[in-house]
Subunit: 184 residues, 2 copies
DNA sequence: GTCTATAATTTGATAGAC
DNA sequence: GTCTATCAAATTATAGAC
């Protein structure tokens, strides 16, 4: 009986993640989440006293899932080129399979209106991504690994947004191809 | 006496644009806008009956301003390389001077929660950008001008978000340099 | 952990006077 | 064009029973 539905907190985060990635931080209400989970909104406050707590927990879990998924996608690969490919795939799956933009792209776009603690978690996600990418480009002996890391992350986050608005996956794929071509 | 403050509608749009670019569509309220403009929220409905009307008018004006600003930045230039540089500068000025992310990046991130008419205007903005960029890359005899256009737009929109979250303009500049280097 | 009940505030929106 | 007055609904949040 160890299925995911046993944990109410994780169910709350599941619903919150989907709705926030669809419509942003302010579009998500305790009442709507509670309705979908099947409890009352007052009960939500037991798990996450303030909305800010829900926001930070959400981004933290998202970052951890991203990390775990990356490890899975990398599998047995040990060449940096293939690790970058796994990284790009990580983002692509989120967009195509679930039809959702990266949580941190959505929250990042609203950055000047977010609680400071939520912004801090989004920043950690981006910095972790940049550090990891920089390490890969270093291993590939690129001249300016930090620059490569910055452009790769920006490309993926931006491509998700433009792709979603225009309902056109070829935008994401152009970005992905540019990143992969640069690794050859 | 032809100053901008004469037109209440444009004052409303000024405040709405700034706050939406800071915190997203749902973070902006009629009451807050009215307070800053110095009128009552009921009066706002005279100019924009529904919030959806305000949203569409906002994106339409933003797209037009972007177009006008691009023409100014291009100036006497007639080489496509320099036109692309003006395009990049257009985005950079928004971020650095005003400290704000592109309106359409912010709204685009919330795309699955926006009124359909607002989404449509954001899509027009992106498509216009893509068409213009494609024309420039065609003139430069690039092999796949549409791909170049897609990656350039995605890079700029994504770079604004990551730069803003990390309070680090070098992220935007890495993206800008990649675009400009590709034009040489 | 979840509930009922409730509070204080904010939201988009309308009617009608001036 | 802007105002007052008003509305119904939604928001985050708390107190206290079970």
């Amino acid at each position: 009986m160890m299925n995911a539905d046993m944990n109410t907190a994780s169910q709350i985060l599941d619903v919150a993640e989907r709705t926030m990635r669809q419509a942003g931080y302010n579009a998500v209400s305790y009442r709507d989440i509670a309705g979908e989970v099947g409890i009352k909104s007052a009960s939500l406050h037991y798990h996450f006293p303030k909305k800010e707590d829900l926001g930070t927990a959400l981004v933290r879990r998202y970052a951890e899932k991203f990390r775990q998924n990356l490890i899975e996608n990398i599998g047995e690969q040990n060449k940096s080129q293939n690790k970058i490919a796994a990284f790009v795939l990580n983002y692509r799956q989120a967009l195509e399979a679930q039809g959702l933009i990266c949580l941190c792209a959505v929250l990042g776009a609203e950055v000047f209106g977010l609680p400071a603690s939520v912004t801090a978690e989004v920043k950690v996600f981006f910095e972790t991504n940049l550090d990891w990418l920089t390490a890969q480009y270093e291993e590939m002996n690129k001249a300016h690994p930090e620059d490569h890391a910055k452009t790769t992350l920006a490309l993926l986050e931006g491509a998700m947004i433009v792709s979603a608005v225009n309902s056109d996956m070829t935008i994401f794929d152009s970005a992905a191809n540019l990143i992969l071509a640069d690794c050859k």
